[in-house]
């Protein structure tokens, strides 16, 4: 199975222990400036969610994935199985999830064909007993990835334009000389 970019970063970070963004790039075999930039963007994201910690300026350690989300999903899954039909408000009240996350999770279950929505209520259609693994990532992460990709593409375009301008400037200076 093809590993995601974040997965490759995690693997490299775990292997390195303490690292810089450049170390990560070298370990991952990154060749282009765009990919290096992508690592920096992901680093920011990892720091924000506490998966990595800054130990010195520019130096980081891998702290491990947050189990909080997993636990929250487990709580929501128990409430859904116990009640068989829930609203997002039930999940907020009984599982302590935010409204946004409860909706996201229920929509992900709907994509897997486990629940169906009638009005405000989500009904469990098929009970696999064990909590289903999220085959597709949460919408927030997908939105974040899309934003990262758009930014990386934009940076690559700027980089290309800069290179072109540099070349044009060089040829102009040569002509002038």
């Amino acid at each position: 199975m093809k590993q995601t970019f974040a997965g490759r970063i995690r693997e490299a970070a775990r292997a390195l222990g303490e690292f810089t963004a450049k170390d990560l790039g070298e370990r991952m075999g990154v060749k282009t400036y765009t990919e290096e930039n992508k690592i920096r963007l992901w680093l920011k994201d990892f720091l924000k969610r506490g998966e990595m910690r800054r130990v010195a300026p520019g130096r980081y350690v891998y702290a491990g994935q947050d189990r909080g989300t997993e636990e929250k999903r487990q709580r929501m899954w128990r409430v859904l199985r116990a009640r068989r039909a829930v609203t997002a408000a039930d999940l907020q009240e009984l599982a302590g999830a935010s409204a946004e996350y409860a909706w996201e999770w229920l929509r992900a279950l709907k994509r897997q064909g486990l629940v169906a929505k009638t009005g405000r209520t989500w009904r469990l259609l098929h009970d696999p007993v064990e909590m289903p693994t999220m085959r597709d990532n949460a919408e927030k992460i997908r939105r974040l990835r899309a934003a990262h990709k758009a930014l990386a593409d934009e940076l690559a375009r700027i980089e290309q334009a800069l290179a072109q301008s540099r070349r044009a400037l060089e040829s102009l200076s040569k002509e002038a000389l």
Binding site: R78, A82, R83, A89, E93, L94, D127, V129
Partner: protein, 246 residues
């Protein structure tokens, strides 16, 4: 001024605290077969409190179905499924064997909601299960559950804890209004909601929802819920008691 809104919150009132104490007490008796009896009128938050606890703790929650009344097999299969057996054995005794093995390995609490819907033989099965596995079985139902369990001496002697879910007090109404909508409710208004609903949580929430809508229509203020608005909300909402002329 923004619009007021009733947010879904779980209020830790005296019932919830008593329930938590009951569960702690049950867990202290680990290894012994024991049961607990939780009873109270509908609308006092029994099921919601148990589901809230169940969401945070490894446990089994099973709501009885009326059609299981004469089928011990259906109960056994449902319990086995809740314990993780995707395709429980068809034979009742094999199914119960699987349940016993699983609960002996991992004696997690089992909540049985509305067990009065089942026959006496299922109660005997529950007694066997708790004796053989050491897992606590918590039975929750309406007022008749207490008598239903107390009638069976062998069941009652194994009932280590019992608790009644009491109606919401005016203080609970004040706390709920504050936590859910940021409302500062005066004791008089809280008393109106409490008295009209007879302590029934669903009706209190419904009436408070109506009061919030009235407040929003009149320029919402967190301390603007006067006894008059409370009275109007109660009048507009569905009543907890039958008010038809006799």
């Amino acid at each position: 001024m923004g619009q007021l809104q009733l947010k879904p919150v779980f209020v830790h009132n005296h019932n919830v605290r008593n329930f938590q104490d009951l569960m702690k007490g049950l867990m202290r008796l680990a290894g012994e077969g024991r049961m607990a009896c939780i009873w109270g009128r509908a609308g006092r938050g029994k099921t919601r409190t148990v589901q809230w606890w169940h969401s945070q703790n490894e446990s089994v929650y099973l709501r009885m179905r009326a059609d299981w009344k004469h089928s011990r097999a259906a109960f056994a299969r449902a319990l086995a499924r809740e314990l993780g057996f995707l395709t429980p054995p068809w034979s009742t005794s094999q199914c119960l064997d699987a349940v016993i093995t699983k609960l002996t390995d991992e004696p997690i609490p089992v909540f049985i909601d509305e067990p009065e819907r089942l026959g006496r033989e299922t109660l005997e099965t529950i007694r066997d299960l708790t004796d053989l596995t050491g897992a606590p079985f918590v039975l929750l139902g309406e007022e008749e559950l207490y008598d239903w369990m107390a009638r069976e001496r062998r069941v009652w002697s194994r009932t280590a804890e019992q608790m009644e879910f009491l109606p919401w007090s005016p203080t609970d109404v004040i706390v709920y209004a504050g936590e859910a909508a940021g409302l500062r409710l005066c004791p008089e208004a809280a008393e109106i909601f409490h008295r009209s609903a007879d302590g029934d949580i669903r009706i209190i929430k419904r009436d408070l929802g109506t009061a919030v809508r009235i407040l929003n229509a009149n320029g919402a203020k967190p301390d603007g819920l006067t006894p008059d608005i409370a009275r109007s909300a109660v009048k507009a909402g569905m009543k907890g008691r039958d008010r038809r002329p006799k």
